[in-house]
Symmetry: C3
Subunit: 350 residues, 3 copies
């Protein structure tokens, strides 16, 4: 009797641990890392950055979005292997970061956040179905697409008031960056990483790089390279100063860099050159999408990363003499080169 109780206790503990693990992996998967430690660092970075900015509500939103989307996966009875890798949660946590950042804190906003976070789960299933014939993945586009719908509708509904989005305007003149002290560049560089989670804080960026390094050192290196090169391009091409200084030219190239150099191709000199080209192109895609969406007054989110990375994966170029190219997943079983330090098979609790 007692023994049974203890087994039951053990089991429910294990279930609780496994669910917490799934949530943390969900945070980690935003940057392609199936690791609870990375996820933990990312969550800490979000909380640190959000509280430092005085926007603690963003951190709570992130948590709510993460939980909502993970639960939705169970309700819809989607394949549990996805859930175990945290693939239900990574779009939801981004929804949770975005809503309180751009919208006012009303009950309508919180309801919309929950609907949108849940929606990303089946939208992801749908988009992945669409992209399967081309062997690519929808990445964070379910988050981008669903959030665009709600941010646009906020402009048509007073019940979801807009708090911090630039007004719709026609593209015209812009102010350039004046001379930047080198130390500030360091700050902008790290903000390029933290802005993946819509956090404007260099300390958060540093925490995220550490989190990445725990799971995959190459991912951390390439995230850093991505942000640095994007910053260089944005400054050299004289993009809008405020965007540069808030790291808004950095976050999409960071993701492109990790994807091309470490996830879909093995780290290698040829894939490195491919990733470098990808980083540069992502900067142009970011600038183009900024202009494209300016008349609507809605942010690009991680759209530029998705578009640019698709442009580099769809041709299925063979860089390292693989026999077959399949970019539709970054599952460890399909991509054994990703199974390094900190990445264990699903059954472990790591």
């Amino acid at each position: 009797m007692e023994q049974n109780n203890s087994i039951d206790n053990q089991r429910s503990e294990q279930t609780a641990l496994s669910i917490i693990g799934q949530l943390l992996r969900g945070a980690g998967q935003v940057m392609f890392q199936n690791s609870i430690w990375t996820g933990l660092f990312f969550l800490c970075a979000i909380f640190w950055g959000a509280f430092r900015e005085g926007e603690s509500v963003v951190a709570w939103g992130a948590l709510l979005g993460l939980v909502t989307s993970t639960v939705t996966g169970y309700i819809l009875r989607l394949p549990k292997t996805d859930g175990a890798q945290g693939l239900w949660g990574f779009n939801g946590i981004l929804v949770g970061c975005a809503f309180p950042t751009f919208l006012g804190e009303t009950p309508g906003m919180w309801i919309a956040l929950v609907i949108c976070a849940a929606m990303t789960v089946w939208v992801r299933a749908g988009f992945n179905n669409v992209m399967l014939p081309w062997k690519v993945n929808s990445f964070t586009f379910p988050f981008v697409f669903s959030t665009w719908i709600f941010l646009l509708s906020a402009r048509a509904m007073q019940g979801i008031p807009i708090e911090d989005m630039s007004s719709p305007s026609l593209p015209s003149h812009f102010t350039s960056l004046s001379t930047i002290p080198p130390l500030h560049l360091l700050e902008y560089w790290l903000k390029g990483v933290s802005q993946v989670f819509l956090i404007n804080s260099w300390e958060a960026g540093l925490l995220m790089l550490i989190g990445l390094a725990i799971s995959n050192r190459w991912a951390a290196v390439w995230a850093a390279i991505g942000s640095a090169i994007a910053l260089f391009c944005a400054v050299a091409l004289r993009a809008a100063g405020s965007d540069v200084s808030e790291g808004l030219y950095g976050f999409s190239p960071v993701l492109t860099a990790i994807a091309l150099a470490t996830v879909f191709y093995k780290p290698y000199w040829r894939s490195g050159l491919w990733a470098l080209t990808g980083i540069v192109v992502t900067v142009f895609v970011q600038a183009a999408m900024n202009i494209w969406m300016q008349p609507l007054g809605v942010p690009t989110l991680t759209g530029p990363f998705c578009v640019a990375t698709w442009l580099f994966l769809l041709p299925r170029i063979r860089l390292d003499y693989q026999t077959e190219i399949d970019h539709s997943t970054w599952d460890v079983e399909h991509k054994p080169h990703l199974a390094r330090k900190g990445r264990q098979p699903m059954s472990s609790t790591n």
Copy 2:
């Protein structure tokens, strides 16, 4: 000799009846009903509404669009099974409703209407080819896409003058709905149904619900639910008052509701919840597309219904333990649960 004559007469009568049947089915298929009675009620509703609004030209346009597109199917020698179900006509009748609603009555407009109605037939064949790998259908998107092309080009060509489209503008402030007397809500609710055919008349909406009930009672119930919930959401979220009072937040959710709850899933508690979620999401998609198209000054048409319904069908969620999910058609033979009162096999003249 006489006998032959009488057989010939019978035959040509049968052909005439079969063609009239195809045209009426075309009207019915706008709301997924392969039924001449439903089509007849819809046509009556269009004529009633158009004449009451003093826009009789809309009704004649609907008829012209319906005939043009059905004839085009024969000219292009497309599969006759589609034609027999009225699947050539439903995009054409909508083109015929839209052109005289938004454009001025010039010879150029009528020529453009004929071209556009014909075009929907092969555009539908093309779009269905595109969507076949994903097992979904193009719905009314051929109408939406083709009409967008012509409405946009009307802004660039004086030969097709614009009569009644809102001017292009940047999204900004909007006026909210003031207090609504409950009786008016009833009116708005029924207009949500009639606006599927771009008719702004609650009597037409009522006629359409009756037409739906003749073919499929669940379809009528869900059309009513769709319009009601959409109205509730639009009022609760304080969308633009004029849009709400003309039923412009209702017509897309009506179609989403019929599609999800009665066509692609069997009427059932799980599919009901799925459809309810779909209705709510369609309201947000409608609001988002309103804003998205505001700088162009072109209406969304039934675009929000198409987008939202795709988002709910593409994941191919199994709600009722079907062995295989195929949303690419709503043909009776593929969807036997649709074969109820008023829905007979193609060969009958029903």
Copy 3:
């Protein structure tokens, strides 16, 4: 020893000739002609037109874009059969025409031109992968899509200054064409052809028609018909005068006409009617895309041709009783009816 030398010389001569051949074929493939003579005429027309307009930089840009994209095909080790037919170069030469036309002559522009021309090669491989299930080709859309990215980003980056693009504006009033002397119509008609390469010169248009006739007389005839009918439609529908007089309503229909009447269907009365319909629809698509992109202040490029032609190929209508419809390539081996005067198998140097 000497003999070896002479063989080596012969070989390097042959390689040089073959590379020059590939470049010229690249120019010819913009209008679907796998012919060095057509390419030569096109290049001469570009140089003639560019120098006459006082925009010699456009001609040098065209050359640079052509070389860059062809070299990129080799670097990425793409299938050499494509390269041998000039299919690496045709997007690149258009990038090279577009950049100096719309952007200011700065080092940033030249670097962007090289990146964009190279990018079209793998973007084309990617887009063709995407479209393969539907048996259509990406045509010049890799050029259109990549160039849009860079032209849009030029509005966000001072390092790539804009020289000659219309300012972003909301679609509103427009000035119509006043009475046109018939002789001018002739000029506008030929400019419709030359604008395929963004050249505003009737002499260049004439040279291009001659170049087309060398490779395929039907292509020349249909290019002429396409430009003429588009001009008639644009005048009859009273489109913006400046657009008409610069041939901007002509270039996309020219390409649609060649594609539908001579490349993807055999020249034939039924395919002729299909092509005529295609030309008219392309005029509307051109007008619609002009309005669609007006708030961004970016030109449509050959986008209307791509969209319209896809709309006519995706339905896979059987006009000439082919057993199977495959529009994914215009390779001579797949389309033997194209193998006429001036079109030889790849191995020849023609």
